[in-house]
Amino acid sequence: MAKLINTHGEVANTPLTQVTFEQWQASPNGNSLELFLSSDQTADLIGDQCKSFARICIDFPKFSDGRGYSAARLLRERYGFNGELRAVGDVLIDQLFFMKRCGFDTFALRDDQVLEDALAAFSTFSVSYQNDVLDQKPLFRRRMN
């Protein structure tokens, strides 16, 4: 069983009814739903309708499949999704820092991963060159020299 964490520690899961994109398309209603987005489904597929979900889980079927980073960023930056964005699937310690920068706020950490190491990974870097979901300004607009 995966350990659910945020950047501070382990958190409890609030169970929501999960739907896939296809299920939701067939019957687009219900409150406080959780959308499961597979890695071959893009953010543009849902677009502005992302706001109807309380939570969106983006799947990483394999940690090396990087599509979820773009999906997360687009949901946050383009479609203004303010709900919970959760990374699920093959979620490993050494990808957490990137996931955080792309706008994920909860992480279903694979069960064999060490919690302490995972939490430490969120503060791997104190500087980032690029703009991201956490900071709209890239470093070149923030440098104080």
Binding site: F98, S128, Q130, P138
Partner: protein
């Protein structure tokens, strides 16, 4: 050159700490082999045939003498006393111990060097013209743009797990492609429009490897400030839609081919329109800040062709030869650009010993403001040498074995490490290079042959750029035996006089290794017998045609 500020250094130091931790967790068994793989790759570590290999980045081929000394120290302290300069302007160590790599990276961080993203499915080291900043022909100095791209691509949060590796190259010389940009995932040609504004002509989807394709124009003029958002847009499209089911079809060139350039452009522009005016847009302040790092050194007011140079040239044929091949015109009167060739007979192309590296650092301090360049032809460059010192530099370089006067000629081969080191290789490449160098060691003959690129790869990953050699050699495996396939007519596009890039065409069935010098000799004899006055190998090939060469080599045309 670019000097790190506190932000750059902090980030690199944190990277060193991160990888130290990852290595420790791996050695404790807390990270599985396949999950450690991309972590070590993104820190430059391959596991090769006999030992790990560490690839250290030389961002756009630019380094200084202290960095060269640090590399020499790594070669001595952690390796077998030598290093290998690669076709992507990087440097590789063939024998480090895996568990010592974090220490090497810590040592290198002290001189602002690293192995960040030198491998893995991420944005790799950006490459450019090795003469950037010192030649008169360029529109602007491309190095500040390369540095801006370097920073943007370093630990990009969205693009660390792309479908496949991603390479960007930048050229700033009009009418020439001096960085083989047509062979990269993204090629940027820095140009000026009619209003004199700087921008980029953007190519996408070029590449060598298994499916060699020239890049296609996706944007004819992208204004200067939109560089990073446009790159973001292209790679975002690729990250979402590039194939991930087959590693051989995962490069962006396959996506561009599948979608067609029109559709690709539409997707990219749609993406770009949504971000182009945001905070990611490059500022003039940032351009100015980075450009400051690339201002000219304190050149003296000198004149071209000083008396001492003219007399030395007249008195010494060897020196005159070296001048004609390995020394290039500089933008500043009285200065010259000197290439130190790493193509000594008996040494694999691109290899250099720790002692040579220390001496090269000395040469650079004494004669070139402490700066150096690495080249895609696996040589090193002293970018700012006073012409009155050239004879002096030549004598010193000669003693070091770094003055083979064959730049641009047959024996200045590009060659990957091949089956002697690389786990991917189908065949050895270094012995082929050596046999060809040994066979064609007559300088008069080489000079008579003129401009000729011979490139050798040990497998279809094409690290030796065989597709763009005028003569290309590819190692293939035939039922466990090593054979070599020859292609003709490739061109990187960087050659003076002929600027059109092309992919070589396979000549016919492959040859055993010991036949290779004869095959090359046959091709050259055919060229010499049929060329017109002043016609280069490539020009003659294009005029005479592939089938005639095929006939000459295999006995009959079909």
């Amino acid at each position: 050159m670019y000097v790190y500020d506190q932000y750059d250094q902090q980030l690199l130091n944190e990277r060193v700490t991160q990888f130290k931790g990852q290595m420790a967790r791996y050695l404790e068994g807390k990270i599985a082999e396949d999950e450690f793989l991309p972590l070590r790759l993104q820190n430059g570590i391959y596991v090769q045939r006999y030992a790990p290999m560490l690839r250290v980045a030389i961002p756009y081929g630019q380094l200084n003498s202290d960095q060269m000394r640090a590399l020499a120290k790594v070669a001595r302290d952690y390796d077998k006393g030598y290093a290998h300069f690669s076709t992507r302007q990087n440097v590789q160590f063939n024998w480090p111990a895996l568990e010592q790599c974090p220490d090497i990276l810590a040592d290198l961080a002290e001189v602002q060097m690293h192995a960040v993203q030198t491998s893995g499915n991420c944005i790799r080291n950006t490459t450019t013209d090795e003469y950037a900043g010192v030649i008169a022909e360029e529109v602007v100095d491309p190095r500040p743009y390369c540095e801006i791209i370097r920073q943007w691509s370093t630990f990009h949060p969205e693009f660390a797990f792309l479908p496949r590796k991603f390479k960007i190259a930048v050229n700033a010389v009009p009418g020439e492609d001096r960085a083989a940009i047509a062979m990269h995932d993204i090629g940027l040609n820095i140009i000026k429009n009619d209003a004199g504004e700087v921008g980029y002509r953007v190519l996408v989807g070029g590449g060598l490897g298994r499916t060699p394709i020239l890049g296609t124009e996706i944007c004819d003029f992208l204004p200067e400030q939109h560089l990073l958002t446009y790159l973001d847009a292209i790679i975002r499209v690729y990250n979402q839609f590039g194939r991930r089911d087959n590693k051989y079809k995962a490069r962006i060139k396959i996506l561009v081919k599948a979608l067609g350039i029109e559709r690709m452009r539409e997707l990219v522009e749609e993406e770009w329109n949504r971000i182009k005016d945001g905070e990611g847009q490059l500022t003039q302040a940032e351009l100015a800040r980075v450009k400051q790092h690339f201002v000219d050194p304190s050149y003296e007011d000198l004149t071209d062709e000083p008396e001492t140079l003219i007399s030395a040239k007249a008195e010494n044929k060897g020196f005159a030869r070296w001048l004609s091949r390995n020394v290039r015109a500089h933008k500043k009167p009285g200065y010259a650009v000197v290439t130190l060739t790493l193509k000594q007979i008996g040494t694999p192309p691109g290899d250099v010993t720790a002692e040579q590296m220390d001496q090269i650092a000395e040469l650079s301090d004494e004669f070139s403001f402490g700066e150096l360049r690495s080249t895609h032809q696996q040589n090193l460059v002293l970018p700012d040498v006073e012409q009155r010192e050239l004879f002096n530099v030549w004598q010193k370089a000669k003693v070091l074995g770094l003055a083979t006067p064959t730049l641009g000629l047959l024996t200045n081969m590009i060659c990957c490490p091949g089956g002697d080191f690389c786990a991917l290789a189908n065949a050895k490449s270094i012995p082929v290079a050596e046999a060809i160098q040994a066979r064609f060691d007559n300088l008069d003959y080489l000079y008579d042959l003129g401009e000729l690129d011979l490139n050798i790869s040990g497998c279809m990953n094409a690290c030796g750029h065989h597709h763009i050699g005028h003569i290309g050699v590819l190692g293939v495996d035939k039922k466990g035996e090593e054979f070599y396939q020859v292609s003709l007519g490739g061109n990187s596009g960087g050659n003076a006089g002929d600027t059109s890039a092309s992919v070589g065409k396979i000549l016919g069935p492959s040859f055993a290794r010991d036949k290779m010098p004869d095959v090359v000799a046959t091709i050259l004899d055919f060229y010499v017998a049929n060329r017109h006055e002043g016609e280069t190998f490539l020009e003659a090939y294009r005029r005479i045609g592939h089938d005639s060469y095929k006939g000459a080599v295999y006995g009959k045309a079909d």
